[in-house]
Amino acid sequence: MKMMTGNWLIGFLLLTACDPGPQIIVPGRDVQREVQRALINAAPGDTVRFGEGIFLFRKTLSLDVENITITGAGPDKTILKFKDQVTGSGGEGLLVTKGGFTLENIAVEDSRGDAIKVSGVDGVSFKNVRVEWTQGPSPENGAYGLYPVESRNVLIEGCTAIGAADAGIYVGQCENIIVRNNTAKMNVAGIEVENSVGADVYDNVTTDNTAGMLVFKLPNLPKKESRQCRVFNNVITANNRPNFAKPGTLISGLPPGGGLILMATDEVEVFGNEIADNDTANLSILSFRSTKRKIKDKDFDPFCESIHIHDNTFSGGGTNPIGDLGEAIKAVFGNHGPDIVYDGSLDRKSLVDGRIPVESSVAIHDNGDASFANLDLAATAAGKEPSVTTDLAPHAHSLEALKPIHIDGVN
């Protein structure tokens, strides 16, 4: 271990020789235990500092102390590498189970499972963090890159996620979330918000993933809601990478070429985004039924409601629709699929006088010359002839704007 010379000197001069100042962890032989010990012995409020270099770990590192910051010398200079992770040592690179946690200026590479999982906490910030599987896209890569779950007050900013076999940035079953200024590429899904309430996802770039950005709700999870999500000012382009997720996962059913996909979620406002060159569809609005999976969850509502799409820029895309959704598009539009695709599934329970109330509807307006189609997939699923329409009139209205997300100390 190396002491910070400056602090030592000051400490010496002040004759308070008790405090050696912050210690910086450097690569070394027994780094696994050294780092794990530092994370266990840290006191609330401490900063655990890593110096430059590649740190090789064989086991999951875990942190279970409140209000800890872990920091490195930069996401290209301090690299925590988990390539040789052994069985029985944990399922992820870094596992954090206490709140007030900040991770910054560091990279996590090649974890066998998820790269960084933060579970069940209040307050987690990822800043300038890179997560990457360096062999490039492969079904053998870990599922999630940045993975906060069952947490509240979640900030992910200025991060990069590359190569995840599920989602590069995955926010699951969380509340009060800001995801901004991140880049996700070469993942199956770039950025995903799932079964979460209250998210602002903005100023991100997702490109070269199988699907750029997802706002999903899944059945059989403890958190049953997915709502209040604003997706704005993002660049979601050319997400056409062949799906490399392990078969069986829900994500493995995603066709390449999805820009932004909303599934089974409520209250999403999508505005100011640049969505281009996603070859199945730039934007799709789907029911969970589109997955053709069993739903064994009596509390689960598979439909999208209160969706507001406005002031986005669409271009290109729809030129190579793939998968079940792609086939449905292709059957009508060939290789000129519309920008915005809606499966037309409605919850009969929500209908009033045979119509969906405006506040629960899919509203689409002011998106330039974006093309649209309602594919009526419910009819297709029932074995009937779908009545496909490109008429935007039933959707040409506005919905009330969703409220911005506020996190104390962040914005």
Partner: protein
Amino acid sequence: MRLLLFGLATCVIVGCGIPDYLGDPPNRLSSYDLFDGDGASQEPENGVVPYAVNSQLFSDYALKRRFIKLPGGESAAYGPTETFEMPIGTIIAKTFSYPKDARDPSQGERLLETRLLIHGKEGWGGLTYIWNFKQTEAFLEVAGHDVVATWIDKKGDVQINEYQIPNTNQCKQCHTLNDRIVPIGIRARHLNREFEYPEGTENQLTHWSRIGVLRGAPNHNESPKLADYDDPETGSLDDRARAWLEINCAHCHTQGARAWNTGLDLMASQTDESLLGIYKTPSAAGRGTGGFRYDIVPGKPEESILLHRILSEEPDVAMPEIGRTIVHREGAELVRHWIANMEDGENEN
């Protein structure tokens, strides 16, 4: 004597009768006075009660010895379902070892580690002590370790595995319930069985009540009892498979525990089929799916993610994800039979 003086000094300073083991853990296991002599024989000291559980967590075929020590004169409060309420100062110890030759116990064992759960003033905490090569003492290690273990199994085959000694965070991974650390085995359904005490065989709940370390327990016939997964006399196939799943999985996969985010609850008492994983779409399994769509497909163990992960030895696929590096063949076989015999309420479409 020095320890006694130190203990007294601590009492005077902090005003209590119990050393603050969690705040200032001793470096040596012998400081706790749990075992006779150097502890190598694992003979408990007076006041230290050995016990066993009906079905035990698989830990790479390591042997386990369990002990509990309550502060003098105090007792635990019985409850039918939850972990017994135990007084502050209670110490629970579990020693892991490998036999040199499982066919011949007289050849002895190699002690690996002794894990302690200690009930401190601010709740339970876990500490791990690693046995030295000479087997004369075990030393505190918070950061975990791995030990290459060589042993001969019951069939006479030489086994070599990289046994994982957990770090103290990993204690919490299995023992956390609703943000608190709780002992798992000290529950009526796990303890309700016979044990061979030096003075004869007796039901553990009866014995604990008789010697005064447990209060409020009914006759053991009225207490819940989990099956021994390995003993068909103790329950049906369903009972035994569910017992195995509870003790191996439900410490994380239940409401309020670490893996509750998956929506899977493998407690033996759970009756909701989708919470048990039947036709449940995996949420965060990644490679763990093995290419399959559901946790459990009734009648089709070979297509069930649950069994696939029990049978795996890959780090991000194997379940449980900590505490084992090799497959528990007998447990996997039991789960295979259980799924194979499950009736399919509906056909996959």
